[in-house]
């Protein structure tokens, strides 16, 4: 369980060094994107249109934050992760198209994303579900918000973060996936539990 502090833009070779169960903290620029923002970004890419920010080497956070506006300035109040599996539909193409290096969320992602991360060089960082205030504390500045027409949770928030973490590398760029490993072990344990309960 090695600990790394990463600064954006993160070079591809740096994420390729990471292994599952490493702990990372990110400083620099990240964006939030849920289903709708992923979909729109990929549509833009296919049509050859530019998205509002160059994402190369940045991190994408699966999160619908609560953000408040005071005196024309946005502040993040609470920003816990949302369930990442919903983005399995888009993530491999998203990484390929925009070269994000870290995908952050909760609950893990599937085979297709794991393959994509291996192929294009990215990792999945699990952030503690529900730890919304801890996340907000690391978000020092809202640089801008784009696609606000999608609604506050679905918009693309561009955030400056300082030591955002702990993020557990749960999928690395070598095809390892902690959630899949845990699931396999849990399946093995199921029989032991049945036995112990006399079932």
């Amino acid at each position: 369980m090695a600990v790394y502090k990463l600064k954006t833009p993160i070079p591809e070779e740096e994420v390729r060094k990471l292994k599952v169960n490493d702990v990372i903290y990110i400083t620099g620029t990240i964006i939030t994107a849920r289903d709708a923002a992923h979909k729109r970004a990929l549509e833009f890419f296919k049509e050859g249109k530019k998205i509002p920010i160059d994402l190369q080497g940045l991190a994408v956070f699966h999160c619908g934050p609560i953000v408040k506006k005071e005196d024309d300035k946005w502040t993040v109040v609470a920003a816990g992760p949302t369930t990442s599996t919903r983005m399995d539909l888009f993530e491999d193409e998203f990484i390929k198209a925009f070269k994000v290096r870290v995908v952050i969320g909760k609950g893990g992602m599937g085979k297709r994303t794991t393959e994509g991360m291996k192929k294009y060089g990215a990792v999945y960082g699990a952030f503690t579900g529900g730890a919304a205030v801890l996340a907000a504390k690391a978000m020092k500045n809202v640089r801008s918000v784009e696609w606000l027409d999608l609604g506050m949770p679905e918009a693309l928030w561009i955030l400056e973060v300082e030591d955002f973490g702990p993020l557990i590398v749960a999928i690395d760029a070598h095809g390892n996936n902690v959630f899949e490993d845990v699931q396999k072990k849990v399946e093995e344990n199921r029989q032991k539990i049945y036995e112990r309960l006399g079932l």
Partner: protein, 293 residues
Amino acid sequence: MDIESLVENVAVEILRQAVIKLPPDVKDALRRAYREEESDIGKTQLEAILNNVELAEKTGTPVCQDTGVIIFYVKAGAQAKILGKIEEALIKATKRATIEVPLRPNSVGIFTRKNTGDNTGRYLPYINWEIVPGDNIELTAFPKGGGSENVCALGMITPGEGLNGVKKFVVDTVIKAGAKPCPPNILGVGVGGGADIAMKIAKAALLRPLDQPNADPEIAKLEKELYEAANMTGIGPMGLGGKFTVLGVNVDHAHRHPASYPVAVAVQCWAARRASARIHPDGTVKYLTHKVV
């Protein structure tokens, strides 16, 4: 102040307490899990949770961005004079708390697909009524998050399977849920009654503090057995592997039809939010779960 406004104010206050500050028994259970967790990764998650809980209290911010669907449990004294006005007071309180705390608007119409924006709507806030002797009114606010709600399960098992069937259903439900309900979780298990009764008592079982063992030794034994079984799965904090998949298991039961054997599992995320207060007819209020500063 008239008692109706008092009920409204108290309801806003317990909603605020509930979403910002976890009850002492839940915090203790999380601290214990942190001390006893054997997986390093599991420990990082519990540490982040404890840091988050502390920060939420310090800054007066909701502990999780999902402030849930608003549920109240009301123990209404049959002699209390304002019984007919409590529902309206709780609806007003929910709207106010949404702005004042704030709560995330979490009430979406099935056919309109629109979010009402104030956490009210058809059957929301949901009120569970219990009429009790006396003239006090006891309110409990129970905001329930969506992630853990999505893995609640009801099984209508074969009566012949009996308690073994109950145990299997609970274990299978925990394994199927995996990382989804933000473990470590609390399980409310309701056995018997009918389909609706089982789920109702399962959810209400989540109101019992974790440090309060079941009064019935036989049920207490079943709770312990289910707790140990769930923590043998290895799902661990946030599904990243580890010892603590659950913080506690609370069981309740009802008599059943000879041909039916319902088992309901109500799953609660680690952000187990609840707050209670008792209102006396003379206008005095006693907060039961949280200290008021």
